[in-house]
């Protein structure tokens, strides 16, 4: 366990595994990564071996410790989650920044600034853990203090009230919006607005089209939202408009390429 591991043990293990038992111990350490909530958590645990205030922690030392841990995992040919490797790469980068003299041409934050931020993150995580523990240790409703056990049940007014929670609402919406994703493919006639339908609809409406109106306004209700339905309705409405123009019932115009196609009753 990393928790219980001293510096000495770490150093000794860096020199390889002499015995089977050492190897088993090292593997146990790696397997225990499962018990950690990510690299930051592991770093926080490792930082405890320094036995100092988190504000005075040696980030360089911590980086060495973490990198040797990752090396051992590799030596054992054990897979680490990507998060842990990303952190290792970053710490290697940080280590080099901390060790090498600063390059004045280099942009970005200095090694010290990066180290300070990491120390801040560790301190903040530790602080959140501490307050979480304090919070959970408080007197709690239903365990240490109690609400009224018998609420009043006067039967004078019995009014039915329907209710729902925000969660119900969101789950309901999510249910509708995702149900199509999983439907087996089928030719969907419901999304089709036929030329015949469009013609019939237009014939009924052109009587009112005294002024120039965008043919997009003739799309039927219920065919304007869903892209597939809208596409079908647009195509058939356009074709129907052409048909009506051919019959001499309407005139069409378009002011430019991709401009709206407009329609007017021909008297």
């Amino acid at each position: 366990m990393v928790r219980a591991m001293s510096e000495d043990e770490f150093n000794r293990q860096e020199h390889g595994f002499d015995t089977v038992s050492e190897r088993v111990a090292a593997e146990a350490l790696i397997v225990d990564v499962d018990g950690y909530e990510g690299p930051l958590d592991l770093l926080l645990t490792m930082s405890r071996t320094q036995k100092v205030d988190l504000r005075k922690i040696s980030v360089l030392e911590l980086a060495r410790q973490y990198l040797s841990f990752v090396d051992r995992a590799k030596a054992l040919r054990l897979e680490l989650a990507a998060d842990y490797l990303v952190m290792a790469a970053w710490l290697a980068f940080l280590k080099s920044r901390l060790l090498l003299p600063p390059d004045p041409t280099e942009e970005g934050p200095s090694g010290e600034e990066l180290a300070a931020h990491l120390a801040f993150q560790l301190e903040r995580l530790q602080a959140m853990r501490d307050v979480a523990a304090r919070l959970m240790a408080r007197d709690r409703l239903g365990r240490d203090f109690f609400a009224r056990g018998r609420t009043e049940d006067v039967t004078r007014v019995r009014k039915l009230r329907y209710t729902a929670t925000l969660l119900d609402l969101m789950q309901g919406y999510a249910r509708i919006r995702t149900k199509d994703e999983f439907r087996p493919y089928a030719f969907d006639r419901e999304a089709l607005f036929t030329l015949e339908q469009a013609l019939e609809r237009m014939r009924g409406l052109i009587g009112f089209a005294g002024n120039w109106t965008d043919i997009a306004g003739y799309l039927p209700d219920g065919f304007t939202h869903d892209p597939a339905r809208r596409r079908s309705a647009t195509a058939s409405t356009f074709a129907a408009a052409l048909e009506l123009a051919k019959e001499g019932k309407v005139e069409l115009r378009q002011s430019g390429v991709f401009a709206p196609v407009e329609l007017r009753r021909k008297d």
Binding site: V154, R158, Y173, A174, F182
Partner: protein, 220 residues
């Protein structure tokens, strides 16, 4: 030495003062759903307590208050004073969960408002019963919005201030998008692996489809 132990033992088994016993009875009767018998009270109190005496004090303490200590058979309970019954009307409201159809209809109106009945049916994929809309109108969670400027000029529905109050929303735009719902684990986990959202990418740009759809709909 032995005297010390004696004293300790004695205090250990000594019943708490009456005032303390009164507090105990008060708390137990308050928290219990049913009237509690004298025997039950004493069984739960430290050894040597006299619940009857404590209750006598408690009874007196609550005389003339908004809540009274009353005897129910051979048990005791707190009851609100009979003359204040008129204040309890609200407690008798029976709440019932909204039906699934109503919730879905409401959700679509909230996310897509202003929206026509035909559009609701298009999104839900089933027709919306008259009763559902009427119920939501009656609850004052939705109301009629402007008519749509499309042929037939259909009426639209929008959500009301009461709706926002009930769900603790500042405005309907605060409703989480589809992507956020999924990231929060609110979608049933049935999506094919390839389509699974990755954690952490929920905030930025990958949410385009629902996001833009939503904002478009709200831009008027």
């Amino acid at each position: 030495m032995s005297q010390d132990t004696d004293e300790k033992e004695q205090s250990l088994f000594q019943a708490p003062p009456v005032a303390e016993q009164e507090r105990m009875c008060e708390a137990m009767l308050f928290a219990s759903a049913e009237p509690v018998t004298l025997r039950e009270l004493e069984a739960r109190m430290p050894h040597g307590c006299d619940a009857a005496e404590a209750l006598a004090h408690l009874h007196k303490r609550y005389e003339g208050r908004g809540v009274l200590l009353v005897r129910v058979g051979d048990a005791w309970a707190f009851r609100t004073a009979p003359d204040l019954g008129f204040l309890m009307e609200k407690e008798t409201v029976e709440t019932r969960k909204l039906s699934r159809a109503a919730i879905e209809t409401l959700a679509i109106i909230a996310y897509h408002q202003p929206v026509t009945r035909a559009e609701i049916e298009e999104i839900r994929g089933v027709s919306v019963s008259r009763g559902t809309v009427d119920q939501l109108l009656e609850m004052e969670w939705i109301r009629f919005g402007r008519r749509k400027m499309t042929p037939g000029r259909p009426v639209t529905f929008v959500v009301t201030q009461e709706f926002l109050d009930h769900f603790g929303l500042e405005n309907a735009r605060d409703l989480p998008g589809l992507k956020e719902l999924r990231a929060a684990g609110l979608l049933e986990n049935r999506a094919p692996i390839g389509a699974m959202p990755q954690v952490g990418d929920g905030d930025a740009d990958s949410d385009e489809a629902p996001q833009t759809g939503q904002s478009e709909l709200f831009e008027d």
